[in-house]
C-alpha cells in the first residue's frame, strides 16, 4: 500500500467512524459542535496546503471563507437562490477572487504576501461595516448592500427542517462531514502527488527546483485557487449552518485561532491541521466557563506547543517514530559476512 493509499484509507475510516456519532449520541450539543469542527477543520486543512505545503504565508483564508459565506447569503437573500446552488457558486467566486489575489501577490515573498493578503481582507471588512447607505428598506430597517454591521439572516437553508423535522441538525452534520472528507482527500492527493513533491522542492531548495524547470508562480497559483474552493465552500456551509453571516467572520482573533490550529497540529503535515483543530476546539470547550481566563489558557497552550513542539504534535510524533525506527535499526546486528 502506498502512502497515499494508506492516508486515504485512514481518512475514510475516520469519516466512517465520525458518521456513527449521531447514531450513538443523543446529545444534540455534541453533534452541533462537531459540525463546527468539520467547518474549521476544512478551513485549516486547506490553509495548510497554502501555508504549510505551498510555503505561501497568506492570511487571506478568512476573507475567502467570508466570500463563500457572503455570496451564499446574498444570493439567498436578494434572489431567493436555493442554497444547494448558492453554495458551489460561493465556492467558485472564492476561487476567482483567490486567483486574482494570487496574480497580484504571488510575485512577492514571505511577510509581504502576509501583509498584502491581510490588507485585502481588511479592505473587504471595512467596506462592509462602513456601508450605511440603504440598498433596500425592508420593514426591519435600512439594509446596506452587503448587510453592514448586522449582516444577513433568513436567506434559506438546505431543506433539512422539512425533511428531518427537529433532527435537521443531523442532516447538516453529514453535509459538514462530507465536505471535510472530500477536502481532506484532495489535500492528501495533492501532498502525495508529484505536485506535492514539487512544492517540497520549491520550499526546501527553490534555486535547485527552478533550475530543474519548476515554475514556482504556476504551482503556487494552482494551490491558491484549489484551496480557495474548499475554503469558500466551508464558508458557504457555515452561512447555511449558522443561519446568519456578519462581519465577525473577518475577525482577527478568529484568524489567529485557526492559524493556531495549524501550528499546534503541525505545519505542512497531512494530519496536523485536523489534530490541531480537534485539540484547540476541545480546549476551548473545556475552558468555556473561565471567561477571560479562557483566552489566557488558549495562549498558554499555543506557547507551550511552539516552544516544546516546534513541528507541532504530528511533527513530534513523526520525529519519535523516526527516532525509534533509527534506534531499532541500530540495535539489530548487521548480518555477519561469511569469510571464505
Amino acid at each position: 500500500m502506498t502512502a497515499r493509499q494508506r492516508d486515504i484509507t485512514l481518512c475514510l475510516l475516520f469519516s466512517g467512524l465520525a458518521a456513527l456519532l449521531p447514531l450513538v449520541s443523543d446529545v444534540r450539543y455534541t453533534v452541533t459542535q462537531t459540525t463546527f469542527f468539520f467547518i474549521w477543520a476544512t478551513v485549516v486543512v486547506q490553509w495548510n496546503l497554502v501555508f504549510g505545503i505551498g510555503g505561501i504565508f497568506s492570511l487571506a483564508q478568512m476573507a475567502l471563507f467570508a466570500i463563500g459565506a457572503y455570496t451564499t447569503a446574498m444570493l439567498g437573500y436578494y434572489f431567493g437562490t436555493s442554497m444547494i446552488l448558492a453554495m458551489p457558486i460561493g465556492a467558485l467566486l472564492a476561487v476567482l477572487f483567490s486567483v486574482a489575489l494570487g496574480l497580484a501577490c504571488l510575485k512577492l515573498r514571505g511577510p509581504y504576501v502576509a501583509l498584502l493578503t491581510l490588507c485585502v481582507a481588511q479592505v473587504l471588512y471595512l467596506t462592509i461595516v462602513n456601508d450605511t447607505d440603504c440598498f433596500t428598506n425592508p420593514p426591519s430597517g435600512c439594509m446596506p448592500l452587503m448587510g453592514g454591521v448586522r449582516g444577513f439572516s433568513r436567506f434559506g437553508d438546505l431543506g433539512f427542517r422539512e425533511l428531518l423535522g427537529s433532527g435537521f441538525y443531523v442532516g447538516r452534520y453529514y453535509v459538514g462531514l462530507a465536505i471535510l472528507t472530500v477536502a481532506m482527500i484532495v489535500s492528501i492527493i495533492v501532498i502525495r502527488s508529484p505536485m506535492g513533491l514539487a512544492f517540497q522542492a520549491l520550499r526546501d531548495n527553490p534555486v535547485y527546483a527552478a533550475a530543474r524547470g519548476m515554475d514556482r508562480f504556476k504551482y503556487q497559483l494552482w494551490i491558491f485557487g484549489l484551496s480557495a474552493f474548499f475554503t469558500g465552500l466551508a464558508g458557504s456551509f457555515y452561512a447555511v449552518n449558522t443561519g446568519a453571516v456578519g462581519p465577525v467572520v473577518f475577525s482577527f482573533s478568529h484568524l489567529l485561532f485557526l492559524l493556531s490550529m495549524i501550528i499546534v497540529g503541525g505545519v505542512g503535515t497531512i494530519w496536523g491541521p485536523i489534530v490541531g483543530a480537534l485539540l484547540l476546539m476541545f480546549a476551548e470547550e473545556a475552558m468555556r466557563e473561565l471567561g477571560d481566563m479562557r483566552d489566557i489558557g488558549m495562549g498558554l497552550i499555543l506557547v507551550v506547543c511552539v516552544v516544546l513542539m516546534p513541528r507541532g504534535i504530528v511533527g513530534l510524533f513523526e520525529d519519535l517514530v523516526r527516532w525509534r525506527t533509527a534506534r531499532t535499526a541500530q540495535a539489530v546486528p548487521l548480518p555477519r559476512r561469511e569469510t571464505v
Partner: protein, 434 residues
Amino acid sequence: MDSQINRRNFFKGSALLAGSAGLLVGANGTAYASGEPIPIGQAAPLTDFAAADGVEFRNGLILACEEINALGGVLGRPLEPYFEDTKQMGDATNVQAVQRLIDRYAVHAVINGYNLGSGSAVQDVIADAGIIYMHNDTSRGHGALVESDPQRYFGSFQTDPAEIWYGTGLLKFLKSLEDDRSFSRPNNKMAIILSAGTYASNIANTVRDGAAEFGWDVSLYETVNVPISEWGPTLAKIRQDPPAVIVVTHYFPADLAQFMIQFMNNPTPSLVYMQYGPSVKSFRDIAGEAANGVVFSTVIGALQDEIGLEFERHYKERFGADAGHNSGMQSYNGAWIWATAAALAGGSGEPGNDAQNRKVADRIRSLIFRGVGGTTRFTPAGQDVYSYPGGVDDPSLGMPHQFLQIQDYTREPDLIAPWPYGKAAFKLPPWMNG
C-alpha cells in the same frame, strides 16, 4: 447558585411586591422552590467592548432568579441560570451562543439584555426549539419579523420599545422644552452624528426625516467609524457651523465620553443629546465634569420612583456600589415577566415542548406588568413593548421613554421627563449659560 435571599427577607419591605411580583406569589401559593430546577439561559457580551453592560445583564438575571426562587420559583421549581458569551456580538455569534444554551443545557427560556447587530437569526433558533425568548435588542426588525409569521415566532418577545421611538421621542421632547421656555433655539440647525449599523442609523434617520416637521434643518449628518476616540474632524465641522442641537445616536459610553471631553475644549452653544451611552456609569467616570449638562434618553431603564429606587438599593447591595442597575434591570425585568407568565400558565416547557410554551407566550401577551422600569405591555402584532408617550398617551399602558440629564456627574443622572415620572427640571448646560 448561591441564593442570598430567602422568602421572609424578600417579603419584608420589598417594593417590587407593590408592582407585579404579587402575581407570581399568588400563582405559587405556598410552594417552596425545591423541585427539579428549570434551566434558563442568557447570551450576553461578557467580554469585549460591551462587557460593562453584559456583566450587568448577567447580574440582573442572577438577582431575578434569586428573588423568584425565594418566592417558590415557578410552581415550586427553582430557576437555574446559564450563560454564554457573545463577545463582539452580531447575529452569527449570537446564534451560536443561543444554540449552545439550548443544546447544552436544554433551557426553557433565553432571557437577554441587548446584543448589538442582532437581526432576526436568534428568533429562528428559538422558533426551531419552541421555547421563549425575552430580549432588549430595541429593534423594529423584531416586530416586523414576528408580524411576518406569528405562529412560528410565537415565543419571541422584545421587552422594550423599538429604537425608532428614540427619534420621534427626541423631537417631541425638544418641542416640550421650547414650549415651557426651558430652552430656546439660537437657530434652526441640528447636527446628527451616527455610527455604522442599523440601530444607530434607524434612530438618526427617524430624527432626520421628522426634523422638518418640527422646524429643524439638518445641517450636518455624519457617520463615524467606531470605536472612536478622536472626534477632532467631526467637532471641527460642528464648530464651523454651530447648530442649536447636536444629536449623537452612537451609543458606546467610552466613545461618547471622549466626545464630551473634546467638545468642552471649545464648546458651541448647542444642546447635546445622546442616547443610551450616558446611562452607563463608565460614561461619567471617563468624562468627569465634562459630562455635566448632557441630556440623554433611554427607552428602558429603572425609574426613580419607589419601585425603581428600591431595586437600585437592592441591586447595589448585592453587586456593589458601582454596579449598573440601569443595565441590569433589562434582564431582571424580562425574567420576572417570563417567570410570572410561566407560573400562571401552569409551568414552562423544555425545548420541543411547544404546546406548553405557547401557553406561556399567551400569558406574556396578556400581561400588563408593572416593573422597575414602568409598564411592560406587548403590542399584539409585533410582541414588542408600547412606548410612552410616543406610542400611547397613558403612562400606565406604555414603557416610559425616559429623558435624563447629568446635572452633577458625581451622582446618578436626574430624570427630567416624561410626566409623571420626571423628578427634576431641565437645566441649561453649563456651556450654554453665557
